[in-house]
C-alpha cells in the first residue's frame, strides 16, 4: 500500500515537472542575437578583454562573480565546520599528517612511493599551468576560477608528494593568502563606489597602458582566493590540520 502510494506520487511529480519544462526546453523561438552582437562590437573597447566570456563575468556582470565567490567561501567554511566537528569525537587519535615521515604516519594514510614520486614531480608543472590559466584568462579560455582550481590541485599534489612541510602546503600560510585576497577583492569591488565608476566599476581604468588591467587584477585575486581555499579544504580533509 505504502509502496503503491509512493509510486503514484513519483509518477505525478515527474509527469507535472516534465509537462512544465518540456515546452520551455523545446521552445522554437529563435535565440536572441542582441547581446552577442553588442559584445562583438563593444566588448573589447569596453573592458579590454579579448575573451568575451571573461569580459562578461568580470566586467558587465561582476556582481554575479562576487556572489559566486561568497557561495564558495561560505560552503568551504561550512564544510570545514561540519567535518571538523566530526574529528572532535576521537580527539586522542593523532591526526594523519601527510608531511610526517612514513613510519610516523597512521596506517590508514593511503600513500605509496609511486604516488609520492609522480605527485611531487607533477606538482610544480601543474602549479605553473594553473597560474598560466589564471593570468591569461582575458585572452584565452580560462580565468580566476579555473586557474584557481588547477592551483589547488597542484598544492594537493605537492602536499602528497613531499616529505617536509613547505610554506606552500602550510594551511596557516594558505589561510592568510585566502583571507587577504578576499579582503582585496572586496576593496577592489567597493572602491568603485567612491571613484565615480560605481560598484564593481573599474577604478583603475585610466592611468595604465594595459587595457584589461582590472580584469587581470580580478582574475589574479579570485584565482588566489579559490586556489588557496580549496587547497585548505582538501588538506583538512586529508587530516593535515587538527580540529579546534
Amino acid at each position: 500500500m505504502k509502496r503503491t502510494l509512493f509510486i503514484i506520487k513519483l509518477i505525478f511529480i515527474l509527469l507535472i515537472l516534465a509537462l512544465a519544462i518540456f515546452p520551455v526546453i523545446l521552445s522554437s523561438h529563435s535565440w536572441p542575437v542582441v547581446s552577442r552582437d553588442y559584445l562583438y562590437e563593444n566588448a573589447l573597447s569596453d573592458t579590454g578583454a579579448v575573451n568575451t566570456v571573461s569580459s562578461i563575468y568580470l566586467g558587465y556582470r561582476a556582481m554575479d562573480t562576487l556572489g559566486e565567490t561568497l557561495v564558495l567561501l561560505v560552503s568551504i567554511t561550512g564544510t570545514m565546520g561540519i567535518l571538523i566537528n566530526l574529528g572532535r569525537e576521537n580527539e586522542e587519535e593523532e591526526a594523519v599528517s601527510f608531511s610526517l615521515a612514513p613510519e610516523k604516519r597512521a596506517t590508514n594514510a593511503q600513500r605509496t612511493h609511486l604516488l609520492e614520486v609522480v605527485a611531487s614531480k607533477l606538482g610544480p608543472v601543474v602549479l605553473l599551468f594553473g597560474f598560466y590559466v589564471m593570468l591569461y584568462g582575458h585572452i584565452s579560455p580560462g580565468g580566476g576560477f579555473q586557474g584557481g582550481v588547477i592551483v589547488a590541485s597542484a598544492i594537493v599534489f605537492l602536499a602528497l608528494g613531499t616529505e617536509t612541510q613547505t610554506k606552500l602546503t602550510n594551511t596557516n600560510v594558505l589561510g592568510r593568502i585566502e583571507s587577504l585576497s578576499f579582503l582585496v577583492l572586496i576593496i577592489a569591488a567597493t572602491s568603485g563606489v567612491f571613484f565615480e565608476s560605481g560598484f564593481f566599476g573599474n577604478p583603475i581604468k585610466s592611468g595604465s597602458s594595459l587595457s584589461a588591467n582590472f580584469i587581470i587584477l580580478l582574475n589574479i585575486i579570485i584565482g588566489l582566493k579559490v586556489g588557496t581555499s580549496i587547497a585548505v579544504m582538501c588538506i583538512a580533509m586529508m587530516g593535515g590540520r587538527r580540529g579546534h
Partner: protein, 114 residues
C-alpha cells in the same frame, strides 16, 4: 536539431527522479548534479546555435556564439559544486551519526533518539 534537446530533457528527468525517488542520500546528491549538468548543457547548446566560433575576439573571427549563457553557466557550475560539497559533508556527518545512508533509516534513527 530537436533530438539533442529531447536527450537533455530526459537527462534532466533522470536526475530529478533520482532526487525524488532514491533512498540513498548520496544518490540524491548525484541526481542533483545530473539535473544541474542537464541545464548547463541546455544553455551552452542553445547559446551556440547562432554562431560557429568560440567567443574569443581576434583576426578573422566573425560569427561567435552567444557568450552570455557561457558566462552564466560558469557561475551556475561553481554554485552547483559548492552546494554538492556541502551536501556531501552533511551526508558524511549523517552517516557517522546514524550509521546509515538510507534516508528513511536516518530519519527513523534520529527520531527514536528522543
Amino acid at each position: 536539431m530537436v533530438i539533442e534537446r529531447i536527450l537533455i530533457f530526459l537527462l534532466a528527468l533522470v536526475g530529478f527522479s533520482a532526487i525524488v525517488g532514491a533512498k540513498n542520500i548520496i544518490k540524491k546528491v548525484f541526481g542533483l548534479n545530473i539535473l544541474n549538468a542537464a541545464v548547463v548543457l541546455l544553455y551552452i547548446l542553445e547559446g551556440s546555435r547562432i554562431g560557429e566560433q568560440a567567443p574569443i575576439l581576434g583576426e578573422g573571427v566573425t560569427t561567435i556564439v552567444d557568450p552570455v549563457p557561457q558566462a552564466l553557466m560558469l557561475t551556475a557550475i561553481v554554485i552547483g559544486v559548492c552546494v554538492t560539497a556541502l551536501a556531501l559533508a552533511l551526508a558524511v556527518r549523517l552517516y557517522k551519526a546514524t550509521g546509515s545512508l538510507e534516508i528513511d533509516t536516518i530519519s527513523e534513527r534520529l527520531r527514536s533518539e528522543h
